[in-house]
């Protein structure tokens, strides 16, 4: 930018502007008050015939509203909601259309009335001053002074200071009580129902699963033993403990050395809770061994410890180490060795 191109000038608005010639759009004046638009005379003002038409239109809209109200009443009786859930559809549809007509008729009619027939001359109304007049301000100061004098607020120091103390301390009990509202999170985010020896059972029946019953290429949706019979906190526990079990050809599994014992003859179990934001990941593709999360398309590779192959998830799905008990039922070797679900502050 060449210095000589810069010009300086004092503009009409009193501010100094710096601009490069050829680029700046220079406003010569402040934006001036355009004033009111010229009044445009409406057809309904000019011709009595148009006014009469408009009147009829408004009346028609109001009559339409009346029709809508009666129609809604009729529809409510004519399409009753019975035991059959599908009757809700007709009832809601026709009742709703009637009420729509009834309300829109009034609304559109009123607006049409105001726009076509009520006076439409433009009016400007200046705002009120925010500042009070000198008299009012002086009177207010007088009142405060008088109140101070009569109550002795400035004079009686003891009362004033104890009052400040009382006001400062009264929210304290409430703050302490609010702090204890709700359950303490504790380590609930780090542990699930799975323990050493917990049997893997089918969702929702809770029937234990035999390893020999799981064929290659099959998928089982699994809950821990005992969850199906729970009454309290069942969903909270299920939301953490839900597991997807699949059996792969053992040749297809690419396992880390230290995690080889976590699977059983090609049967692997993974947490169903996505490590991104906790959706249930259960869209399993049997040939590609991809496990897809429906919410944000995070894709995990079941054949390789559920490592992330696509999408926003940052960590693989936690694997549940499994084995079989003496009767051949699948059991957990332990809880998940890391917290399930999305990342949180301390992990």
């Amino acid at each position: 930018m060449a210095g000589k191109d810069i010009e300086r000038g004092k503009e009409a608005d009193g501010f100094e502007h710096e601009f490069e010639s050829g680029l700046a759009v220079i406003s010569q004046d402040k934006i001036s008050d355009p004033g009111l638009e010229p009044h445009r005379v409406r057809m309904t003002d000019k011709s009595p015939k148009h006014a009469r038409n408009a009147e009829r239109q408004v009346a028609f809209l109001f009559v339409l509203s009346v029709v809508g109200s009666f129609f809604a009443l009729w529809a409510y009786v004519a399409f009753p909601i019975t035991e059959d859930l599908s009757t809700v559809r007709a009832n809601n549809l026709w009742l709703g259309l009637g009420m729509t007509l009834s309300l829109l008729g009034i609304g559109i009619g009123a607006v049409h009335w105001a726009k076509t027939l009520m006076p439409d001359f433009e009016v400007s109304e200046p705002r009120h001053q925010t500042r009070g007049s000198e008299d009012v301000r002086a009177a207010a100061v007088e009142i405060v002074k008088l109140a101070d004098q009569e109550s002795g607020f400035s004079r009686r120091k003891l009362i004033r200071r104890t009052m400040y103390g009382a006001l400062a301390l009264f929210p304290l009990p409430a703050l302490v009580v609010f702090g204890d509202l709700g359950p303490v999170v504790g380590d609930t985010l780090r542990h699930t129902m799975w323990k050493k020896g917990t049997r893997l059972t089918a969702d929702p029946t809770g029937i234990p699963i035999k390893a020999s019953d799981v064929t290659i290429g099959s998928a089982f949706h699994v809950i821990p033993e005992g969850l199906a019979e729970m009454h309290e906190h069942k969903l909270e526990e299920k939301a953490k403990a839900a597991v997807l079990l699949v059996r792969l050809n053992q040749d297809d599994l690419k396992e880390d050395e230290d995690k080889k014992s976590w699977s059983y003859e090609g049967i692997v179990a993974y947490s169903k809770i996505c490590t991104h934001v906790g959706c249930p990941v259960a869209l399993y593709e049997d040939i590609t061994h991809n496990l897809l999360c429906p919410c944000h398309q995070s894709t995990f590779d079941v054949s390789e410890h559920c490592k992330v192959v696509f999408g926003p998830a940052a960590r693989p799905l936690p694997q549940l180490p499994i084995t079989v008990d003496a009767e051949g039922y699948l059991i957990a070797q332990s809880d998940f060795l890391e917290p399930v679900g999305p990342s949180f502050w301390e992990r």
Partner: protein, 265 residues
Amino acid sequence: MSLRRKINGSRRSPLAAIFVIAAGLLFSGGGFAVATNVVESNVATSYTADQIAEGKKLFLSNCASCHGLQGEGLDSNPKLIGVGALAVDFQVGSGRMPGQASGPQLAKKPVQFTDEQIELMAAYVESLGPGGAAIPEAKYLEATGDVTHGGELFRINCAMCHNAVGAGGALTEGKYAPALTGVSAKHVYGAMATGPQNMPKFDDTYLTPTDKQDIISYLAYIDANQSAGGYALASLGPVAEGLFIWIFGLGGIIAITVWLAAKSN
């Protein structure tokens, strides 16, 4: 009958009569099963050598170029040994096989064979090896099961891919879970039991034949009953619904606002 009574009465021993009656019943019963194509029980043992031989001819001329002369699988094409009769019934009966072109997924298309030919091919593939799922008994295909239980099982096992009302949905890299509306009970059962293409299979120990029947009943129920909540917009969920309300709902509100602020002529 009169012929049998005569035979029974005069020239043959009673044992021979029983044999003849038994043979007659077997033949007529078997013929009935073939003619009506209703299979009453596990058909794995009921295919005749003739059926298997006929099936082999069809297999060699229609399937072997991809799946190998003995169904052993070629290149990336799956081997068919041990897949069972039901897999053939599903794949060929839904038109997915014979495949037309390779791609992310083989789609449904008009069926290429008659029911009879499909049964013959199923007989041959069934004879290749044990382990596959058999054609289910007809009673498990009737939509008379527990719809509530079927709905729960569907939401746990199927809905994540096939949508809560079976409208289908997208999977990775061009694959998709097809819509289940209008799919025959036998094919729904076949898909669950055999796990075609990328679908995992659901073993009978996990989803029993009765459970599968409940799921079939649930699908039949939602097929027959329209959505109670109004127009379903193809049941595709929040994306379709959001698009609709953003365009038409918000558009309507903007139109009303413009009209409210416009001056009357």
